[in-house]
């Protein structure tokens, strides 16, 4: 199927295994406007919320790859974060021992966080309420918010990375690219986005999802299937760039209670922090029989 130039061919049913790992690549806006607070959360800079969401997702994927007490996480995923808009230019964000690396397998990520922070997390207290517990919160990169929005360059960078990756991983689940941005790009990235999503493995094309962070408190527009519901050209541009959900991915969101249509795209406009975290968690969940990975049989 080719809708308006965005390829969504393939079955998207490849089982994720160590032999055929999946690739999750984040593109992260590091423009100066990311210092602004996120809508509905005046205390949090968008850059921090986005960094937390990605770091949280990396940890979640590592945990999902963990099966036994006597072994580390299995390398079911290769994960990368490409930043754009900082003084360093477009490039990988990982710090510490992983500095300069683009795609890193889960076991290596587990062992080489930039640092492990002590944070608190709310969990059910068993009697209907929530209680705060101390948790280890590993981070792999720093939040940065500095210059402009070279999104085109970031997408071209991602294409170079995934051109190589897809060539070597034809039996893998198609790479998922999640672009997190808060502002208008310097140049039109649509053609580059189509070149990116025209890359493919046997199981389907590269998926590109877009998450737009807003400092305006409005209801997020989740998974639109047309531009009719979108407020402006910038939103329409991100829509054009976004892949239509493959059926299996759409089902994952439906299971989570989202309203998703067959033409829905992996795109959220005016994302708040909660929607951001949930999107990237569910969007990277790949169902496989009896949950070789996913949460399908154990909550």
């Amino acid at each position: 199927v080719d809708r308006e130039g965005i390829h969504v061919g393939g079955s998207y049913s490849a089982e994720i295994s160590r032999e055929n790992p999946a690739c999750v690549l984040f593109l992260l806006d590091q423009s100066y406007s990311m210092t602004e607070p996120l809508a509905g959360d005046s205390a949090s800079r968008k850059a921090n919320v986005a960094a937390d969401a990605i770091n949280n997702l990396i940890r979640t994927l590592i945990v999902r790859c963990t099966k036994n007490a006597n072994e580390g996480p299995r390398d079911y995923y290769e994960i990368g974060v490409i930043g754009y808009g900082s003084q360093r230019g477009v490039g990988p964000c990982f710090g510490g021992a992983l500095k300069g690396k683009v795609l890193v397998p889960t076991s290596e990520l587990a062992n080489k966080p930039l640092r492990v922070e002590n944070r608190t997390r709310k969990i059910p207290d068993g009697s209907g309420g929530l209680t705060e517990v101390a948790v280890k919160f590993p981070v792999w990169f720093e939040p940065i918010a500095e210059l402009d929005t070279p999104m085109l360059e970031a997408i071209q960078h991602a294409r170079r990375v995934l051109n190589q990756w897809t060539a070597g991983h034809k039996k893998s689940y198609p790479p998922i690219v999640i672009n997190i941005t808060d502002g208008e790009p310097n140049e039109d990235p649509i053609a580059a986005a189509r070149a990116l999503t025209s890359l493919s493995v046997d199981d389907g094309n590269v998926l590109l999802y877009n998450l737009h962070l807003s400092m305006v408190a409005r209801e997020p527009i989740l998974f639109p299937a047309s531009t009719a519901v979108l407020p402006d050209e910038f939103a329409a541009m991100l829509f054009e760039m976004s892949s239509v959900f493959p059926d299996k991915a759409r089902l994952e969101f439906e299971v989570e209670g989202y309203s998703v249509d067959p033409g829905s795209r992996g795109f959220v406009f005016n994302t708040n922090a909660e929607a951001l975290i949930r999107f990237i968690e569910v969007g990277t969940r790949t169902a496989s029989k009896k949950g070789a990975l996913g949460e399908s049989s154990v909550r």
Partner: protein
């Protein structure tokens, strides 16, 4: 007379170390249990194994729902006790708090009472029991009755009580009568789906399964997977076959499949739930792996000559690390002072025992041996020195050949692990027996992730001349199944003429 047989295969592309089904048998009365650990859960293989072990030890029939939850809770406590919570990495700890999950199907056959032979079955999830009558009809299918019913998310037993409570209502509890000649098949989901589809197409899958042994099962599975007839999943078949008594119908020797009983849970820096098992509190795992008894106090060993120690240390560098140690085991395993039961001539059927059944004694000996094999994580020379007087020279000398040891690769490995299963084979006589064990070792090299090894070993045991209720391990060899466990080495050894190619043991990583 009831025979127990098991066939198993890991998911294609996975090592046996990633096989997450578990099964267990007991005799007198015959109890069999099978569980399928959820792939997405933490330590689900361990959970599955504990469930089947507890099922055969304490079959939970006739319990109220609340009592059943308590029964599961006790197994959950064992599971939790085996998790080394203090040393988990953050990602493991987070995973571990989410707990584990597994299916369970269990069967008990009661001895005839007033001519009535009763079976009881309990099942939850998509692991199934099938009863095939002597006349060759599948007359029971529990809890799933159609091959189209395997798509849904099955109810499972969870380590967390509150989660299990949501699903415990789905537990199926059934009973019926059996006749000599009836066969019971306990199968995990992919195998069950295959079985039911064959039945639906008018086939007799039980004949196919009954004709297989562990070696031919592998070829059969590969073929069915290639043809798309069996889903790629862990596969397990447990067959419980009843026979018409020999005095009514002379029976031919069985196919020689071993009866299998899952061994002790893997020791994971935690506790040892069973009285006869290794006690982690002891500073000497070998010593404590023997049951108490007149000879349980270890002999104080002479320190062997340096040359011997050196040779032993080389051996110790590989899997053979614990093998010498194991030679000791078998002493006084059965414990107690009852005279040995009369041992029947070669047969793989279970017979009533008057005192300690030889089967129990042999299982204990084999378990103890296996435990000793993997009980090293301290100063090896200490163990070796205490071992030396016991070592059977022939066995010790055969170890390097048997295992094709790479004499350097493992010299800095730290090992821990346990026996996966103890397999009683046909051929128990008054003085000799065979048992098979799968040794699970985790080798930790400095600066890298641990490597799991699964090594199936055939043990030959002889009744102790000193003490008739004890069985001594006199010989061991790799089982043919090891060929599939150990990939061929990149540079085959010129002397690897042996059929048993336990080549590079390090090539069974977690991957």
């Amino acid at each position: 007379m009831i025979s127990h047989t098991a066939l198993y295969a890991p998911k294609e592309g996975s090592a046996l170390s990633e096989y997450e089904d578990a099964f267990a048998f007991a005799a007198e009365p015959s109890v069999a249990a099978l569980a399928d650990g959820a792939g997405s859960a933490f330590e689900s293989r361990r959970w599955a194994r504990l469930l089947t072990q507890e099922f055969t030890d304490n079959p939970p029939f006739g319990l109220t729902e609340s009592e059943m939850l308590d029964w599961i809770g006790r197994v959950s406590s064992q599971w939790s006790a085996l998790i080394p919570w203090q040393t988990l990495d953050y990602y493991q700890a987070e995973r571990a708090t989410e707990g584990s999950a597994a299916t369970l199907v269990g069967l008990r056959l009661e001895s005839p009472t007033a001519g009535i032979r009763r079976w009881q079955c309990m099942a939850i999830g998509d692991s199934c029991l099938f009863l095939v009558s002597a006349a060759g009809h599948c007359v029971e299918s529990i809890p799933i009755t159609s091959s189209s019913q395997f798509n849904m998310r099955p109810p499972l037993l969870y380590t967390q009580r509150e989660t299990t409570e949501q699903f415990i209502g789905k537990l199926v509890d059934r009973t019926g009568q059996w006749q000599p000649g009836d066969s019971f098949f306990l199968l995990t989901d992919a195998m069950s789906e295959w079985f039911l589809r064959m039945v639906e197409q008018g086939g007799k899958p039980w004949d196919t399964l009954a004709s297989l042994d562990q070696e031919s099962f592998g070829a059969f599975v590969a073929g069915e997977r290639r043809n798309g007839r069996i889903q790629n999943d862990d596969l397990t078949v447990v067959m419980v076959r009843t026979e018409v008594p020999a005095d009514q119908q002379p029976s031919s020797p069985g196919p020689g499949m071993p009866s299998v009983r899952v061994g002790e849970p893997v020791l994971l820096g935690g506790s040892a739930p069973r009285a006869d098992s290794y006690s982690p509190g002891s500073s000497h795992p070998l010593r404590s792996s023997r049951a108490p008894g007149p000879r349980s106090a270890p002999r104080r060993a002479k320190v062997p000559p340096a040359g011997v120690r050196q040779r032993a240390a080389v051996l110790a560098g590989a899997l053979g690390l614990g093998l010498l140690c194991g030679l000791l085991i078998g002493l006084n395993i059965a414990g107690g002072s009852a005279p040995p039961a009369p041992v029947p001539s070669a047969t793989h059927t279970h017979r009533p025992a008057t005192a300690i059944s030889p089967a129990t004694a042999i299982k204990s000996a084999a378990r103890g041996f296996g435990r000793a094999l993997v009980s090293f994580d301290g100063d090896l020379s200490t163990y070796l020195s205490s071992l030396y007087p016991y070592a059977a020279p022939d066995l010790a000398n055969s170890l390097p050949q048997t295992f094709h040891l790479d004499k350097t690769a493992f010299s800095h490995a730290v090992s821990q692990g346990d026996v996966e299963s103890v397999v009683l084979q046909a051929g128990v006589t008054a003085s000799d027996a065979q048992a098979s064990i799968i040794i699970h070792q985790t080798l930790t090299f400095s600066g890298s992730h641990p490597v799991n090894q699964y090594v199936p070993v055939l043990l030959k045991l002889t009744r102790s001349p000193d003490r008739a209720s004890d069985w001594l391990v006199t010989n061991m060899q790799l089982l043919p199944a090891s060929d599939q466990l150990f990939p061929q080495p990149a540079h085959p050894r010129s002397n690897s003429a042996s059929h048993h190619t336990a080549s590079s043991l390090a090539t069974v990583p977690h991957d």
